[in-house]
Symmetry: D2
Subunit: 311 residues, 4 copies
């Protein structure tokens, strides 16, 4: 998906691929003729590489970011930077030291629906924000073993919503309270993780943000946001597979929400790359390393809150 | 239903019942203690009867209206006045001669949703009206023998929509084109009637009104109106049984529209009686004998148009 | 409103009114001719009084309940029984001792939309419940002085939602976490109350219920419920003033939710009285004194949680 | 737009451009480096040209189709083939004689929403079709002079809906009745055209299709379809700019429908080209020259019907 977005942009081209698996690398290069395969070392030393798009496994992110920063490359990196807060801090220090353009991939900020919501808030449509309610439910749970490697639901999934809450409220939370349980797949519980949760953030202004997560909606990828303020409410509902409505003796039936995150956020990923190109051209990244660090800190706080409540 | 509305109004009480069938009359009087049973002659001669509510079978309407008018009673009568245009004309002449308050029961004009639509039009929300689209579909077809006694679908069912079109556009149609077929119950066709139709009215201003009717929706009582004008569109959709929405892997499911006309138009019937009380108190009836006559004339024109097309 | 429902029911009639204010009592008796005015003593001693409908100010409830119970009258009482948990316990002991029919007025349980939701849950449409999200926002804040007498937002307003959460989940909460702030009217804060809150209930099964409250929605009376389970989600949305939709260059505009609680819950109050008549006829009350006591205990727990977090 | 779809498809590439205007041709070749500019003669004689995509002005279509057919090229052509029925017949005779793959661009057949509707009909979701209602309203009227060159609203705009009616009902109409007026721009009327219309098609089965058109909706590009059958109704509503809903004291506000046809039918145009590639690979075109001819014949019949009614 990133590859398609890179190629479609008139200002960016895929120059080389760093990929340990031969089969995948060959398939990729067949689809994108002219793309060469490089090692990390080769790419970092190659002056034709102006920017890197890091979408490898999470445990490689921080190392690759540091190497790219040291080589003076502009960096786009999928979230999270790392699962460990200290490692994130050190990594961002390297980025700051080398002053390279850096964009972290909180793709939802770039979704046109959520962008319209953010614009309406900035325009003052609601006046002062009093509360935010974010619903984010996966269509179906991942394999239980994923829980471990992902750092747990709060660090893997809720982190998007924690970032969104900060983004929308425009203020840093002063407290995090989290409740979680295992209601979807017992194997996830056995792996030490949760699959159902409510997280409440409170802000110094008295505003509150509530995040509802589940690893299983049962009806598609459920991505909704509701913001309340002085003048009323703004909502973004789900985007359905199609606009067909069927009315029979059983009722009125609408399509399910788009099922897969790549499908739901297709436009967001495209807009994200567009913004990265702006960053390459000197714009300030709308989603910085600091945002990545803060969202991880909130996820860590949520884990702590849940652990304290269980004692 | 009329009885309940009469009793609920602080200004009206049921004084007597004219009802040929003993069993029904007894049940009614048991439910409304104190109501006496009268013959038509007795009621017309009784000074305690100030107004009559005619909701008997269609073929008795014109005669009862004339007798009530001659006796100086205020009259509420269910549509239609009669199925024969000449008979309607004669009947209304009697009403006019005796100058009694007269309200014809085009109940939909009093529906709060359609009233809100009419108010918006009068307020100029749309500017000049360019077209009206009325959808009116019964949940399930009546017995085929009803077709005969009812005067056919256009005179029985479409007549409501023809009145609504005149009411909304605020102008008399200059032409009627009708298309009908029998797609629901062959027995209706054998009885010489239709069960599916499209009627187009054109107006001198160039505005058009289209009426979509069917004796079977398959999903409840389908009552929708759409009006287009210079500035956009106004729509009234269906009123569902309840507000429950179910989202599963099969999609999002909403309740069916209210199934029965008494349920859908419960508020309309209550508002209609309220208006009749205003008429008793001297107000101009918002829905006159003339309106009844004109709607029938349009239904007759629709029948003629369909017959001509079939030759 | 209760008076109208009592009179409309074929099995109940208003016999007498207990009302300290002459002006109100006279207006009432004018509207309901034949209703006599009594003191509490007279009514308790009158064998013609079979049941009492207590809708006086909150601080009189417990006393009136006890006197009616001792006199052997069936009791319908508006929530809450009292603002003090100990007082409620004592009062209910008296009710239990005298074994009189007792229904507490959590009117929302009787709303046809929420009833349809409850029926769907009982039918197993969702399988096991994983979470409940209740939104309850008043259209506009009450006077600040009301905060004091009402016992605070949690005991006055949230108590309905706490009852609804228990009703829907069908299980007792094991923990309550509450967050509140004053975002609507500073005078409410000065009176020691809050106007904006999030309350999370957790259940032994791992299910969670979240309640979003505000004293001001800005767009009408906002009453929504969302339930998630194994098989998907059930939602009840707002009921709008009318079904008119206006489409212009500015977008598609729908009516606001019904503004006033008597209007929104008109059908619920009627159904509630219908159920009380069933209780008079021997049915088990679907909403008992115990339910009133438990909801208050949860409100008290919410207050405690909020106070602890603020230290 | 076609260029982007051609380039995105792994099986097709733009080889050359035939374009009389230098400025446009140069801009195009700058955006698509490697594309050469050719005359019609050069392209027809060039064996590297396997297929042509004709999206020039309407009056050039028939001639270009014939030349491409004679040169053995596969042909994609935007609707209409020509505004004159006899010219269309002759042109299609040439196509048939040379047996080249030929796809006519009724793009709406390829829209995913309407495709889902068509699939549901083929699956028998509705049983036998009784009626189809198509709404197609442009956001704002074109310049009046466009009316002339476009062949009038029925041949230019309604033709899409006439094709859709045939496509959905799966049967040829036996009669066309049309009503049109000039309600939007008097200059359109002065140019001899209409801007507001209702067209009714009747089918031998008794099914009916109604097409509502306007050159101005006032609220965006209004593209809706409703199909009724034995078992109920299927609807496709409008696709809005975004999913934001704003609730204030003025009501609930949703976004307008997508405004521009290229935006609304972006996915349709992409799917159309995908199908053309299937046609290149031997598939039967789902939208043939015959479909183009029949839609034009219906548009001509609509014009005749309207003229007859005006005498």
């Amino acid at each position: 998906m990133h590859a398609a977005n890179i190629e479609q942009n008139p200002e960016t081209r895929i120059y080389s691929l760093i990929e340990p698996y031969d089969a995948y690398a060959e398939a990729f290069c067949a689809a994108y003729p002219g793309v060469k395969r490089q090692t990390v070392e080769e790419a970092m030393a190659d002056d034709n590489v102006h920017a890197v798009c890091i979408c490898s496994s999470t445990d490689t992110h921080a190392d690759l970011i540091e190497r790219a920063a040291k080589a003076g490359k502009a960096i786009f990196c999928e979230k999270p930077i790392d699962l460990d807060a200290a490692r994130v801090r050190d990594c961002l220090a390297v980025v700051n030291q080398h002053q390279v353009p850096f964009l972290i991939g909180f793709n939802r900020r770039f979704d046109p629906h959520f962008s319209a919501l953010k614009s309406a808030l900035e325009r003052g449509d609601l006046g002062e924000i009093t509360s935010v309610i974010i619903t984010s439910r996966d269509p179906a749970p991942p394999p239980a073993q994923y829980s471990k490697s992902s750092g747990g639901m709060f660090r893997d999934m809720t982190i998007h919503d924690l970032d969104m809450a900060r983004f929308l409220v425009g203020e840093e939370p002063i407290a995090v309270t989290a409740h979680g349980s295992c209601k979807v797949d017992p194997a996830i519980g056995e792996a030490g993780d949760i699959d159902t949760s409510v997280v409440v953030l409170t802000f110094a202004s008295g505003a509150m943000a509530t995040i509802h997560n589940s690893r299983r909606s049962g009806y598609g990828y459920d991505q909704r946001i509701e913001v309340h303020g002085e003048k009323g409410m703004l909502q973004v509902g789900n985007i359905t597979e199609n606009a067909l409505v069927s009315s029979t003796q059983h009722g009125q039936q609408l399509a399910t929400p788009k099922y897969f995150f790549l499908e739901r956020y297709e436009q967001a990923f495209a807009a994200e790359w567009l913004h990265f190109v702006e960053v390459l051209n000197g714009a300030k990244p709308s989603c910085s390393g600091d945002d990545g660090e803060r969202a991880l800190a909130l996820a860590d706080a949520a884990i702590l809150s849940m652990q304290l409540a269980r004692r």
